[in-house]
């Protein structure tokens, strides 16, 4: 029997340690996911409140934010993508990539400029020849608010430059425990969309008094809404990333287990064959001496 037992043993050890690593990663992701989901849920109170406040404007005074509602002039599109900083999360990043590719094909690559959150996606897009303006790491939990303001400011500046006709956000959401396909949402220009979100629950129009002028309250709400969308996308895609990684690592662990049991079987057979052969040799040797 020509099976090298040492070699098999080494391979089995390798598979075992891979399985340990993937299982550990899976458990870490499960924990992070629970946390990220909880945080994402906790942020909904503010978001819902803000949407409700914006919905309370009967006819949104768009003229309060002329620069944001203005007819777009440029012909470029700015896309903000939310990916992961690291790999090993299954199709999470590649789904984002293919969505970008799709949009690039649709509107023409030369018209598309991208700001990436999550360096993995950014560097791949750069390699593929997309115009990546900036490639940021995902912020740590404590830096989220700073990140939100920073990115908000950057995008507002981009918008003010007049180069773009729209700014879009590409992010991955979760539904229950299923990672959805990444979706592209509009950030700017505003199209009266935020106000319609919870319109149906309004029974009759209330006459709101505005402490300041309606316009300035509306402008403040819109600006906060825009900033908050950046944060929402960040938190949602983070939860989705952890779920994606958890599922990928679960699959990897299962594959390693299957491989291990197959190797174990081969190893046992080979060892048994070797023992049988040795006994044969000893017996035949003894027989030869006795004869």
């Amino acid at each position: 029997m020509a099976v090298d037992l040492q070699k098999l043993k080494r391979k089995m050890r390798g598979v075992t340690s891979t399985r340990q690593v993937t299982r550990a990663l899976q458990m870490v992701s499960a924990m992070k996911m629970r946390k990220a989901q909880e945080q994402s849920e906790r942020s909904r109170v503010y978001r819902a409140g803000l949407l409700e406040l914006m919905a309370s404007f009967d006819s949104p005074p768009w003229e309060a934010v002329p620069e944001l509602a203005a007819a777009p002039s440029g012909n470029h599109v700015m896309l903000v993508t939310y990916g992961s900083d690291r790999g090993l999360c299954g199709p999470f990043n590649s789904n984002v990539l293919s969505a970008v590719q799709h949009l690039g094909d649709e509107i023409g690559r030369e018209n598309l400029e991208i700001r990436c959150v999550g360096v993995k996606v950014g560097s791949t897009l750069r390699r593929r020849g997309f115009n990546v303006v900036s490639n940021m790491r995902r912020p740590a939990e404590v830096d989220r608010i700073v990140f939100k303001q920073e990115v908000g400011r950057l995008l507002q500046e981009d918008w003010a430059s007049g180069k773009y006709r729209m700014i879009k956000i590409l992010s991955t959401a979760l539904r229950g425990m299923t990672v959805l396909k990444p979706a592209i949402g509009d950030w700017l220009p505003l199209a009266g969309e935020p106000a319609s979100a919870s319109k149906q629950e309004k029974g009759f129009a209330k006459d709101f008094i505005d402490e300041q002028s309606s316009n300035s309250v509306f402008a403040a709400a819109i600006r906060k809404h825009l900033d908050n969308e950046i944060l929402t996308a960040l938190m949602e895609s983070e939860a989705a990333e952890h779920v994606a990684r958890m599922i990928a690592m679960d699959n990897a662990t299962r594959n390693a287990e299957e491989l291990f049991s197959r190797l174990q079987l081969t190893f046992n057979k080979a060892r048994q064959a070797k023992i049988t052969q040795e006994i044969c040799e000893i017996v035949s040797g003894a027989n030869a001496i006795r004869a």
Binding site: Y46, I145, Q212
Partner: protein, 135 residues
Amino acid sequence: MPMEITIAVPTHPVDSFEASYVHLPSEEGSMGVLQNHAPLRCVLDTGIVTCRLPDASERAFFVSGGLAMIADNKVLVLADTAEPAEDIDIERVRAAEERARKRLLDQTSDTDRARAEASLKRSLFRLKANQAAGR
């Protein structure tokens, strides 16, 4: 019938409870809200949200700007940051106040000055909120 007040910041809800009177730091000046207040929206300044509970005790929250909406005996405070007064870390606030004062004394650029002023304002209101809670 008391009002329901909800205070939330972008990352999480801070608190939600019933109150008979709420005092808000609107940008136009501070403002008291009793029950059956007319529907109202306003932009908030850095300051203190004070609430009187139905049992006549008081609660104070430091907020640094945001929005508020009052309708149907519900007060919704959407703050940029909000802290219950009793959770404020006095040592840290005093250090921040010190830093801001120092930066204001140094001759620096306008943006730094504006930032230092904002920071000083936050520190002072945090201290005030904390004192209000200590009473």
